[in-house]
Amino acid sequence: MSPLYSQHIRNLFSKQKSNKLSRKQIFLYILGICCLCIALIVTNHNYSLYKKTIAEVVKANVVEQNKSTDLNHNKDAVYSQKIVAKIMNGKYKGRLIHLENTYSYSGAYDQKYTVGTDLFVSLEKNSQHALSGTIEGVKRDKQVTAVAGLFILILLAIGRKQGFYSIISLFINIVLLIGALNVYLALGNVSLLAVCIVAVVLFTVISLLLVSGNKEKTHVAIISTLIGTFVSLLIAYGVMQLTDSNGLHYEGMEFVTIPPQKIFMSEVLIGSLGAVMDVAITITSSVYELYEKNKEIAHKDLLKSGKEIGGDIMGAMTNILFFSYISGTIPMVLLYLKNGSPLGYTFSMNFSLELIRALTGSIGIVLTIPITLYLSSLFIFRKGNRK
């Protein structure tokens, strides 16, 4: 066989390897799809796992319809539903239950139920034959599983190996977060911020190692991320001390069970971490690639290109944080405004904390750019000097 020919075959083979799926990959995909199918089937038939009574709606009729106008002249429609549902678990499994439901067009805190919906109900037995009860909530586990499955499938189909790694790193992050909160609640007397600082170090090390492997650029990215996040947190803390938290409305914070000041700093810390990691890894990768391509590159040129890349991603990264924070407040802001709350009050109640989160995160992003640049060039040129 001539060497050229074997080379040609090798090329063909490597091409095939990159474009088509190997048998092992196909096997993994089929395995993944099977797992998802099993998860879906299980969540569709897991009624017996619940202690609460679950009933599936078999008939739902609207019996009454009323127009409603509230104090602020908002027009809405309120409907009453009579529902017949079949009990799916427990002592009365298989029997029918009669339920009532009121819902509105808005559906801010109520819900129209249709045939097929699974409901959690509490039973009230008032006669021997007919069961009745009240609706306590909707069973949503199968929907969440379906969306999670879809997410995993799409990420694998488009992202292939990298998609797989990002799912793994998401999963590890979720487990870590829950673990950290468990430690916090179990210890009782440590501050949440201290637990979160430890968690942040773990998050950063694990996520970045998974995303870009155990290389020098990853180490640089880890150090820069940690410096960037903590410095931005210090800045936010300093600003709050300096201004006496003027303009901060902790009243607008939701789900608070412990003093809000403590928890807010932890939230800011964790919230900006992802974006800061993203910036650090983007900059280190580009700087190292520039260096690999041209080992003779001057220190100044490397910094200049790095700065340009930094300027390019800065706007986009700050936007990501900004939108993911602000968007969550939209329903509440609408409710405030529709109830005749003044604009200024509504905005300061709902937006002040979110904007502080976004601004602190953005400061972290912008700070991380020069920090990462400086550290990567330090590492690169230290190495260069040694040679």
Partner: protein, 260 residues
């Protein structure tokens, strides 16, 4: 002095030092974006079709973040077209998901906060839920599509005779490299905002079943996952559209030369 003002000032100074003129433009874009969200909310109060309002808002936001920060050229044009297509696909997806999982409005955990208000306000909160999810992901979607289209342009400039299929494949490859970090960014941003919720669940000793079926939790998880889906599907869409637009430009350039 107000916390917000001081932080904004610090951010402005940092952005102008680190990013120069582009940094200043990025900072102004943040304000413009906030203005767009503000107007969107005001429009949502009176216009029934809130999804259309959101889509228009997203189009304006894409214009600001692509054409204002980065100037109008074929890179940003490709990113813009891809963003709009992805949004349309995503709205459709989320509509179905929302319909089945019933995550609109407010959960039990928010009861204390909302019980002072009249809840029959005549806004369809199911649609608002869709808008919220879309708005939460738009930043990440724009970011990823611009990253892909500018890297593809870089490749195209270096190798102008590249075939469409190869260009498309390199687009996918670039996209895959940034997919992981972007989903991470979204995850941490959302989790950061809901740390209190998770602690609430733990404090009130919710069982696993309670958590996974609670409206607030499901809404949160579905937001993160839908954002992730959006970030993933924009990769092939941008790769294809950029490849088409860049090659079309090449064809046009050829014709122009021939005429000359």
């Amino acid at each position: 002095m107000n916390v917000l003002l001081l932080l904004a000032l610090i951010l402005f100074i940092l952005m102008s030092i680190v990013g120069g003129k582009k940094g200043i433009r990025s900072f102004l874009a943040l304000f413009l974006n906030f203005g767009v969200i503000f107007l969107t909310i005001l429009f949502m109060l009176s216009i029934k079709n809130t999804i259309i309002v959101t889509l228009i808002a997203c189009t304006i936001i894409s214009c600001i973040n692509l054409f204002y920060i980065n100037k109008f050229n074929h890179k940003t044009l490709a990113a813009f077209v891809s963003t709009i297509i992805t949004l349309a696909v995503l709205v459709f997806f989320i509509f179905i998901i929302e319909h089945h999982s019933m995550i609109q409005g407010f959960g039990e955990e928010q009861e204390e906060e909302i019980n002072a208000f009249s809840l029959y306000v005549g806004i369809d909160f199911a649609k608002i839920a869709i808008c919220t999810i879309i708005m939460g992901a738009i930043g990440a979607i724009i970011d990823i599509s611009l990253s892909i289209s500018s890297s593809m342009n870089e490749l195209f400039v270096h190798d102008p005779s590249v075939t469409k299929k190869n260009l498309f494949n390199s687009g996918l490859k670039i996209g895959r490299d940034i997919l992981g970090t972007t989903t991470n960014t979204l995850y941490f941003a959302f989790v950061g905002g809901y740390l209190t919720l998770i602690i609430w669940f733990k404090r009130l000793s919710y069982s696993f079943g309670d958590i996974i079926n609670s409206k607030t939790f499901c809404a949160e998880v579905i937001s993160i996952l839908s954002g992730g889906i959006g970030v993933a599907i924009i990769i092939p869409i941008t790769s294809w559209i950029s490849a088409s637009i860049f090659l079309q430009k090449r064809e046009k350039g050829k014709q122009y030369k021939e005429i000359k």
